[in-house]
Symmetry: C2
DNA sequence: AAACTACATCAATACAAATTGATATAGTTT
DNA sequence: AAACTATATCAATTTGTATTGATGTAGTTT
């Protein structure tokens, strides 16, 4: 299996891709991504939309930020989050690449 | 947030999509998908490729099967698994759809 | 039918992640 | 500066999931 023969624990492309997919595969984080689809938004609004406590939303945003899926910028008291579309595209592309073999493209 | 206002727990599209993404976002399961990318394979070969115990591979295959990502067919003693590419495409499409807003297509 | 092979299941364990509640911090308003 | 607001962090708890080891089962070979 040449596609993962020399994998080495945490450095494997599969480990990294899995971690990013995992970051994205939580129900609440998917909803956050949906909220941020076409606008930036502050934490308190998202908490209201999602009907979730503020600290929980903060936590999920932290996870997304750690995986470079969202960015934050502070404006006064509030912190506005936005999507890093490029990173999302990368995730989609990696996933597509390992699921679509060449042979089936005819 | 009209995109999830009427969500009802386990029936939400976000819950379902999250569950499927979760099924796919495990390192070993990504490797299994990679193995099955362009051929079907039996459990014992996959276990050897992955250097994982057979029962663990069986477990991961079960998770993938529960989410309709792989199919199994028995041939004699062996069980051959194959990818359900259509389901994978669905996952990719759902994910693409919530991440790519219309406005950005100009 | 006994021994063997490939796979699945089950119970136990270990590990990781989501959620909650309490508190801290930074900036704002009065 | 005191009170307030928005957010982040921390510790504790709960929940979920991966992994392991032992055992069961179906089909095969001798």
């Amino acid at each position: 299996m040449k596609c993962f023969r020399k994998d080495n624990k945490k450095t494997s492309q599969f480990f990294k891709a899995g971690a990013q997919l995992k970051a994205v595969s939580d129900e609440n984080r998917l909803k956050i991504i949906c909220i941020l689809k076409d606008k930036e938004e502050c934490v308190c609004n998202m908490a209201e939309y999602l009907k979730l406590p503020q600290n929980l939303v903060s936590h999920h945003l932290k996870v997304l930020k750690e995986h470079n899926i969202v960015s934050a910028k502070k404006k006064g008291l509030m912190v506005f989050y936005s999507l890093n579309k490029k990173e999302l595209d990368n995730i989609i592309q990696f996933f597509s690449s390992i699921t679509n073999d060449e042979k089936s493209k005819h």
